[in-house]
């Protein structure tokens, strides 16, 4: 992995503790491009579920994501039986809400994470969660393919960068999403370099706004 990693110094970002990581420079060429194909496959499968009600596409998604959803819910405090039942409900929601997935703004993992998170709030924390307004473009809107590929690649870089973080930061980031952070811990990780992915999402939102009625 190290041999395959080239660091382009000009694109380095510094997180608050002084460690340097860079989401855009990790070009573990063979691994990442393979992984990108895989990531785009997930987005493609969600499209097949939406457009064609394709059960075998859904089964592929299920086999990859359902065990992760269950793991996420157990780490968030659900007992095994509750996590099992809730992960089935999360995956059923993936089928039902496939039309809301926008691959120019989120990867499949990101989108399914948000559904699992909402289930956690609903089932474990027993709270309502007000959600931002959904953005509905008119019917002919297709997200720009180039934007989709870039977003999916950027997400893959982010996932690799997370793996490359110094142990202490990586644990903090995981704790932010799986447990809860103290105020000073939050300050330590809000310096994470999300700038590139944020600007891609921003562009996708602008395009979407133009396509809205």
């Amino acid at each position: 992995m190290l041999l395959e990693t080239k660091i382009r110094t000009e694109e380095r970002s510094i997180i608050s503790s002084g460690h340097v990581i860079d989401t855009s420079s990790i070009e573990s060429t063979s691994n990442v491009s393979l992984a990108n194909k895989r990531k785009n496959v997930w987005a493609e499968l969600i499209w097949k579920v939406e457009a064609k009600k394709d059960v075998s596409a859904f089964e592929e998604l299920f086999n990859h994501f359902a065990p992760r959803v269950k793991a996420f819910l157990m780490k968030s405090g659900a007992d095994p039986q509750m996590a099992e039942e809730c992960s089935q409900e999360v995956m059923a929601t993936v089928w039902r809400k496939a039309h809301l997935f926008d691959p120019s703004r989120a990867s499949a993992s990101t989108w399914i994470f948000t559904i699992a998170r909402n289930k956690k709030i609903d089932a474990i924390r027993k709270q309502n969660r007000p959600e931002p307004e959904q953005l509905y473009p008119d019917q002919d809107y297709e997200p720009d393919q180039e934007a989709v590929v870039e977003l999916q690649q950027e997400t893959e870089r982010l996932t690799s960068a997370l793996g490359e973080l110094p142990e202490k930061q990586r644990v903090l980031v995981e704790k932010a999403y799986l447990g809860e952070l103290s105020h000073s811990e939050i300050a330590e990780i809000t310096g994470l370099p999300l700038g590139t992915i944020k600007s891609r999402i921003r562009l996708a939102l602008e395009k979407l706004r133009h396509a809205m009625m």
């Binding site: 359902a66 007000p130 931002p132």
Partner: protein
């Protein structure tokens, strides 16, 4: 809602807590409403969700029941068909409309003195969320906070010791903030105010009134 230049945005701390699902309902309401009005914060939120997605993707998968897929397909059959678009019922951003249930003009306000009126939307042990109606040129009594306060302007504007806040703007305050928001002279101001502890009013009369006003 009209489109404006929003100058005061959500903090990364709040967005992170919201993206991870750790915020109380009342605060989530303010966050979701602001994001409905602000694409800058929406992009920020979605990038934090991408980070959550990365954590999720890297999790060690858990073993699931052998009949889980079959059960999920059965669940799908029982679920109602998703409608493509929720029809808009009010001028308010969707998350807030779900709590208010009518247009701003039709709210059954409760007066809390000095012409200021309120409508309580969420009132849990830890957090309360309310709409405040402040007539043009009127001050909300001076107060400080035991905890956090998030204020989102929906209509009109107010200014206080810190800055000027117009529609869509967020003001964040904590235990150290003492402020006297005054509605701008041009228009009555309506805002959503969320606090995680009761507000402390600094004059005796307000202290006495506080338990009755639930403010």
């Amino acid at each position: 809602m009209k489109k404006h230049d929003i100058k005061h945005h959500l903090s990364k701390e709040l967005l992170l807590a919201y993206s991870a699902g750790h915020l109380e309902e009342g605060f989530s309401l303010a966050i979701a409403t602001h994001i409905s009005m602000c694409d800058q914060c929406r992009a920020e939120l979605e990038s934090l969700e991408a980070m959550g997605g990365a954590v999720f993707e890297n999790l060690e998968p858990n073993v699931i029941d052998t009949d889980a897929f079959a059960k999920t397909l059965a669940l799908i059959d029982q679920m109602p068909e998703q409608t493509k678009m929720k029809p808009k019922t009010t001028e308010l951003p969707e998350p807030l409309a779900d709590y208010v249930g009518c247009d701003l003009d039709d709210i059954d306000w409760r007066p809390i003195g000095m012409g200021v009126k309120q409508k309580i939307l969420v009132n849990s042990e830890k957090v309360s969320a309310r709409l405040l109606y402040i007539p043009a040129g009127t001050a909300v009594p001076e107060h400080s906070h035991k905890g956090r306060e998030v204020t989102l302007v929906l209509k009109g504007a107010f200014k206080d010791e810190i800055d000027y806040f117009g529609p869509g703007d967020i003001e964040l305050a904590d235990g150290d903030t003492h402020h006297t928001p005054v509605a701008s002279d041009e228009e009555d101001c309506i805002c959503l105010a969320v606090t995680d502890a009761p507000l402390k009013f600094n004059k005796l009369i307000h202290k006495i009134a506080q338990p009755f006003l639930k403010i």
